[in-house]
């Protein structure tokens, strides 16, 4: 039997969601693995780009930050923040953004700002960065999370990036023209969102993970009735991930 890490499973589970022609907004960590894996395995015609302005870099080495010089090499265009955000929200483009967060709620809204009262926080995180922007503009957002009750919460301490807001069609009513949360990829499984209520539902649990474990690690109630077991990584998927995507093993 193949052995693989949670990060490898997460990168592949997210990568499988990317389609040819997608413009993928990548961050760092597992998200850059997923974006690169998507391009090398599932969607060679997807384009990876970064909020800092690097568009379609070669990525011979994994970048450690979105401003890493590695996102500037072999690109079709080196630009800046304004240009990058002109792409995220462009009406002609189907853009998919990878984000991470400290907290997520049932509608896929994200907190990357702070825990506790905003002005005197118990814990301060980096803040929005470009997350609030891509959550506002992208065609869809895929979020990476560690799956536990402190992170999957009823009520965010701070709403940094809007997902489906309060569910139903509340996002549209805010004045946001498109987008919303597509999926949440965790170390336990893959969550999607109900088409009408926009509440989070369990789509896939990883091999060896029980549905009960996912329910127990989620603070809000989650519909698991449609869940199936995720296909495990194939030998070829793992080979590409390890040998081509992150040969220096910086993240894997």
């Amino acid at each position: 039997m193949l052995t693989y890490s949670a990060n490898e499973m997460m990168a592949l589970a997210a990568g499988r969601l990317i389609k040819d022609g997608d413009i993928v907004f990548a961050g760092t960590g597992v998200s850059i693995l997923a974006a690169t894996a998507a391009k090398r395995i599932y969607a060679p015609k997807a384009i990876v780009f970064f909020e800092t302005g690097g568009i379609d870099p070669i990525l011979e080495e994994i970048p450690m930050a979105v401003a890493d010089s590695r996102v500037m090499y072999g690109t079709c265009l080196n630009s800046g923040l304004i240009e990058a955000f002109s792409i995220v929200g462009h009406r002609r483009l189907h853009t998919v953004a990878f984000l991470g967060a400290a907290q997520i709620d049932r509608y896929g809204n994200l907190n990357t700002t702070s825990l506790g009262e905003y002005h005197r926080p118990k814990t301060r995180f980096p803040g929005s960065g470009g997350a609030c922007d891509v959550a506002s503009f992208a065609s869809g957002v895929i979020t990476f999370m560690q799956h536990d009750r402190r992170r999957f919460v009823e009520q965010l301490d701070y709403l940094t990036s809007v997902g489906w807001y309060q569910g139903g069609n509340s996002r549209k009513k805010l004045g946001l023209r498109r987008g919303g949360a597509i999926a949440v990829v965790t170390n336990l499984g893959l969550m999607k969102f109900d088409e009408t209520s926009k509440e989070m539902v369990l789509a896939q649990y990883y091999p060896g993970v029980s549905v009960t474990k996912i329910v127990e690690n989620t603070s809000f109630s989650i519909d698991v009735s449609g869940a199936t077991e995720a296909p495990p990584p194939s030998e070829e998927e793992l080979r590409i991930l390890r040998e081509e995507v992150d040969p220096q093993r910086l993240i894997l």
Binding site: N78, I82, R124, Q248
Partner: protein, 325 residues
């Protein structure tokens, strides 16, 4: 210096540039993004000159932001992101300063801050966007009402209005322009005519520079007029926006400068360790900032071997195979 008659009045030492343009209580914007092209030598000089009460306006400044805050130079900050890639999920001194209520802070997003610099550079009072509708960025204010409307702090954080060009309901966010007193950016090249060329990604450096009342450019190289004008499509700023030019090779260290050197993983990992604790952070400042007279002494302390280790392969722009763990 007399080698460059066209910019003789702008060429100066780092001490002079910082001393002249960065004053107590000024509003400051620094270029770069997280681990890339922060004007670190200038940041260290600001710390050495013990400039206080700075109002820092930035998007994702990473290392420069953290050192300025940690050294006690910053009174208030408008910020989108206080992190430094894998070397600081949240910038350590920024985090402590917020959690201990030592600085006033206001949260925006990267695009919002970039737009605010753009608005400043366009000489317009505000700019519209759809970004942030429904988020707490547009619900909660960090700054108190008392400080608003003076000292170049916007009277309001934002305004949400009905799109005046739409018949149906359509909400739009207005953001106030930024016009900092001074911007400091680090570029690869400045021409002997004063033209600025940034290689790799420009982030929001050009908008930041053009929105400011004064601009200091530190650079890796000063190059001939014929070189900088041979391929002007590559240039970032015309000479007349620049007030001070300081030649400072490795002036962004330990952050990266595309084409010249990579970020310094050893230094950033060391910083990660020491920045978590007050005493060890102060020792770091003593060793790397207060304990060196100038940038040359700083580079001597970094050492030739370390600088060679991060030297970029000029073909790809970074140090291939560099141990970055």
């Amino acid at each position: 210096m007399s080698n460059y008659p066209e910019i003789a009045d702008k060429l100066m030492s780092l001490q002079e540039a910082v001393g002249r343009f960065v004053t107590n209580g000024c509003q400051l914007s620094i270029g770069g993004f997280t681990v890339a092209r922060n004007p670190m030598a200038a940041v260290y000089e600001i710390v050495r000159q013990r400039i206080r009460d700075i109002h820092l306006v930035c998007h994702s400044n990473g290392q420069g932001l953290d050192v300025l805050i940690g050294a006690g130079c910053v009174k208030r900050v408008e910020i989108a992101y206080g992190g430094n890639g894998r070397y600081a999920p949240t910038c350590f001194r920024f985090r402590k300063a917020v959690e201990r209520s030592q600085i006033e802070f206001e949260d925006y997003s990267n695009y919002q801050m970039s737009l605010r610099f753009l608005a400043g550079s366009l000489s317009i009072p505000f700019i519209s966007t759809k970004s942030g509708l429904g988020s707490d960025l547009l619900r909660l204010q960090g700054f108190s009402e008392e400080i608003r409307g003076q000292n170049n702090v916007a009277r309001k954080k934002f305004e949400i209005i009905q799109n005046p060009f739409a018949e149906e309901e359509d909400r739009v966010v207005l953001l106030p322009a930024l016009t900092p007193d001074v911007a400091i950016i680090h570029a690869q090249y400045v021409g002997e005519d004063g033209t600025v060329r940034i290689k790799g990604l420009t982030f929001a450096d050009a908008e930041q520079a053009k929105s400011a009342d004064a601009v200091i450019v530190t650079c890796e190289e000063i190059v001939s007029r014929s070189f900088i004008r041979l391929d002007p499509d590559q240039n970032t700023l015309p000479p007349f926006f620049v007030d001070a030019i300081v030649k400072l090779p490795y002036g962004a260290h330990p952050t990266a400068c595309f084409g010249f050197y990579d970020y310094d993983p050893k230094h950033l990992n060391h910083y990660k360790k020491v920045a978590k604790d007050d005493d060890s952070f102060n020792k770091y400042l003593d060793e790397w900032v207060y304990g060196v007279a100038d940038h040359e002494e700083y580079l001597n302390r970094v050492g030739a071997a370390a600088l060679l280790g991060i030297k970029a392969n000029p073909v790809v722009g970074y140090a291939q195979g560099l141990d970055r763990k």
